[in-house]
Symmetry: C2
Subunit: 508 residues, 2 copies
């Protein structure tokens, strides 16, 4: 979810879409609007040097699961620490809260997971944020890390989880904190990793808070159309007219494009800095705005990737609904999308087609082409142009780009997902799956309570890992309540851990 390095998948599809007109599919997070269209660096510039963390580098093993001479190669994995509130010492055994980093610079997750910092004093917890291999500075082959399948091959979720296991174990040993319970936190893909970490390494983490983790978005567990249906529902629930305008805008867009000088007209309507080469750039530009605004439809103003007002979908629909009768749909949707791209009002024009430059072999794009295969379609119910999913085409694209075939059933083989309630009810404990229903990714999440210790916290008005953001005075009651529940549940895990620890009969 780092601002610049997240659109690899989207970028990838954008490139494709300009060829075959297929609809672009979302990645977890887009590049930051202001930056993404202006720069193509894969390194985020959104680093907050004032973060209250110290950076460290752990000598990590390249390949945990094979024992070839190459497997032993060491790379330096970055992690951040804040020990301000930690009640250290072997007798106290205060907890360690670990963020299982996802697809981007670890600073970005640290600065956007204020929740952990907010609760650290109450728990007297040590905070650790571990960067995911092949992102940020944790590049096993330095600048060449993304240059070939031979190198990128080591970028996988299983290797990342093993990295966390090895690092946490070593850290606890070095800090003489072996008795301290570890709780893992993660949002989005990081939330999947947190949940999976608890499932695969229950001996290392006593529990996991997985926020907006669509672990059921794989194979055919979740209907493929649910993501865009959910986005559309957000708009429809706000205003049926708003939904209908957006839904009708695509035909109008194509109709204008087919006119003489159509692209020139569109260039004017969409205030592009340069003349447009393809109508699909506009389509993707618009759908990106509507989709990502749904994800970050937060109840307070936020500056996640760019400044946005509270409830930005409501604001977008206000714009659309506020036009006088007879205004054409493209003018309306352009204005609405401008809220997403230009809320601060600094842009005079938009560079819609810069984003279609292939940025090379980015991390998430690779992951999407290997194991993180989340098929999506766009149904007639949605407000987006209908789109199907063809696994053969997808495979061909990946083979062409990376020379590797996707393994679409691997995630469900390795981590499960089918009949998750039946499986986890009988095997597992201490996981919170939190989801906000405004976030379209919620549809691939765990939305039902599984057992007394595997809980689903669902907020109707929440968005993509909203609970992980720093508390603000404007937070609605239900959000304050959600975070309070999370803290209570985490406290119960820690209490149980300490009670078990005292029970000497368990110290086999």
């Amino acid at each position: 979810m780092a601002p610049t390095s997240f659109l690899p998948h989207l970028l990838f599809i954008l490139v494709i879409s300009s060829i075959n007109s297929s609809f672009s599919l979302p990645t977890f997070f887009p590049r930051a609007p202001q930056q993404s269209l202006a720069q193509s660096s894969t390194k985020t510039t959104n680093k907050n040097s004032k973060l209250p963390y110290t950076a460290h580098y752990f000598p990590q093993q390249l390949d945990h699961f094979t024992f070839k001479p190459n497997s032993y190669k060491i790379f330096y994995q970055k992690y951040l620490i804040n020990s301000t509130f930690w009640d250290q010492g072997p007798t106290r055994a205060a907890p360690i809260f670990v963020y299982t980093g996802n697809e981007g610079d670890i600073e970005w997750f640290a600065s956007n997971t204020g929740f952990m910092m907010d609760i650290a004093p109450k728990f007297r917890a040590l905070l650790v944020f571990i960067e995911h291999r092949f992102y940020g500075e944790s590049l096993p082959f330095g600048k060449d890390s993304h240059k070939s399948a031979e190198k990128l091959g080591y970028l996988s979720s299983s290797q990342a989880l093993a990295d966390y296991a090895v690092l946490i174990r070593s850290l606890k040993q070095n800090l003489s904190a072996e008795a301290s319970p570890v709780v893992v936190f993660g949002g989005s893909y990081g939330g999947m990793l947190a949940a999976w970490f608890r499932m695969k390494y229950p001996h290392i983490a006593i529990g996991a808070l997985a926020s907006s983790a669509p672990i059921l978005q794989f194979d055919d567990i979740t209907p493929w159309s649910s993501f865009y249906d959910a986005v559309s529902q957000d708009y429809k629930e706000e205003s049926n007219n708003c939904y209908e305008v957006i839904k009708g805008s695509w035909d109008e867009l194509m109709a204008v494009a087919e006119q003489k000088d159509g692209l020139l007209k569109l260039s004017k309507t969409f205030k592009t800095c340069k003349s447009l080469h393809s109508v699909y750039s506009v389509r993707d530009w618009l759908s990106t705005a509507f989709t990502y605004t749904a994800m970050v439809d937060y109840p307070t103003k936020a500056d996640f990737m760019a400044p946005l007002p509270a409830y930005p979908i409501k604001e977008m629909c206000k714009i659309i609904d506020g036009f006088p009768a007879g205004t054409n749909k493209l003018t309306k949707v352009f204005s609405a999308a401008s809220l997403y791209y230009n809320y601060s009002g600094t842009h005079q024009c938009f560079d819609l087609e810069n984003g279609t430059d292939a940025h090379g072999l980015d991390g998430w794009d690779w992951q999407a082409c290997t194991e993180m295969v989340m098929p999506m379609t766009v149904s007639n119910k949605s407000m987006f142009p209908p789109s199907t999913y063809n696994s053969k085409d997808f495979e061909e694209e990946c083979v062409q780009k990376y020379g590797v075939r996707p393994r679409p059933h691997w995630i469900t083989t390795e981590f499960g997902g089918y009949k998750i309630k039946q499986v986890l009810k009988r095997y597992g404990s201490n996981i919170i799956f939190s989801n906000g229903m405004r976030d379209p990714w919620s549809r691939g999440g765990v939305l039902e309570k599984i057992s007394s210790s595997i809980t689903a916290l669902v907020t109707e008005e929440g968005a993509h890992h909203l609970d992980f953001r720093s508390a603000t005075k404007e937070d609605p009651k239900w959000l304050v309540e959600q975070r309070k529940q999370e803290m209570e549940i985490i406290q119960s895990w820690i209490d149980q851990y300490h009670a078990d620890l005292k029970d000497s009969s368990m110290n086999q």
Copy 2:
């Protein structure tokens, strides 16, 4: 546990021991006595062509956890099937019993796990035995599979578990048996794999019966001296004199060796076919006999690797105790060891030093040098010559032999082990750990009940996965009772699974 391919580790140490006189450490199972000293083939000849199984070959992926071009290489993994008793059909969903193969030809495990065949009719179960990669016919690089660390690097427990997951999932799909619950079975290293499979893949197996699985033999969880202390205790409990004779025999052995023509004298005493070159060959020959006899100290006569009478330790001690006063110790221990090597009476002489030939890069030896590091020492309490464990020396030996360093903490990082009671009580279910206390490997096993659904079945007079052997009329009551308990527990897992399946609220 295949008869010829098991002594790699022991062989390895034997080679070393002839240099530095360190005591040889056990592998799970020795080569078959008659064969091992005569032939050096790594393929067992103990195949029973009359086995009621059909052989199949599954196209398996070389590396599940990386996505390099090489990772996608396919090899053919052998598995055996018996569907005689299976009540197939989507509505019946009768269970699938899978044996998670260990370090050897899969036929050998199938023919020595008669328990599964015995219980299949009652459960109407499909039986599947899956061969472990790099053993038997499941060689990813054919005959060259064991020729370099580059190739052997793909031999690891995690890869093996993923093999089983992928194969089982595919098999269920091909058989339209997706609703059939899978129970995994394994003995010894295969028992570790069965237990770990349930821990890592609870969505694929509803339960595991792990027989004689020393999953706590790693790091410093179990005292390093416990294995040989346990062997010694077996003899001491049988007869203190027997224990004392064996314990005293090593000094006598060394004293004779130091005499003029000592080795020649020993060659005569031990009826060697060729003159001895080293006294350590005799030491290892004897200790092997006493150690492995403890493992297979079954209450009925058995023909596991070689024919042996019921309670062979009792018989060995009878031999030792039966000599007239004044007989020297070496004569006594030679006679006792002969029971192990020559119960059938077919050998006229023994080839003690053939076993010290390095057999090259065998599978288990590789595994012991990479992840399956189970440190062992011999204490003064034992009847064996004292021996220490030096991890640096061990590492050097492995580097010298394979060019790879052991990763002694990896197994406990990946699978846990420390505070297992505390961890599994709160996370896990449906595992039976069965152990017989006559088996020295039991000391590294789970011997205490962990929770209502993670059980330890301990038999005082049981030996190495005795419960997995075919039932015989001579089986003692406690063994019949143990197997009955195992069946009842497995039945309860299946019943629970079907009850959950009917509960539609769980079919998320």
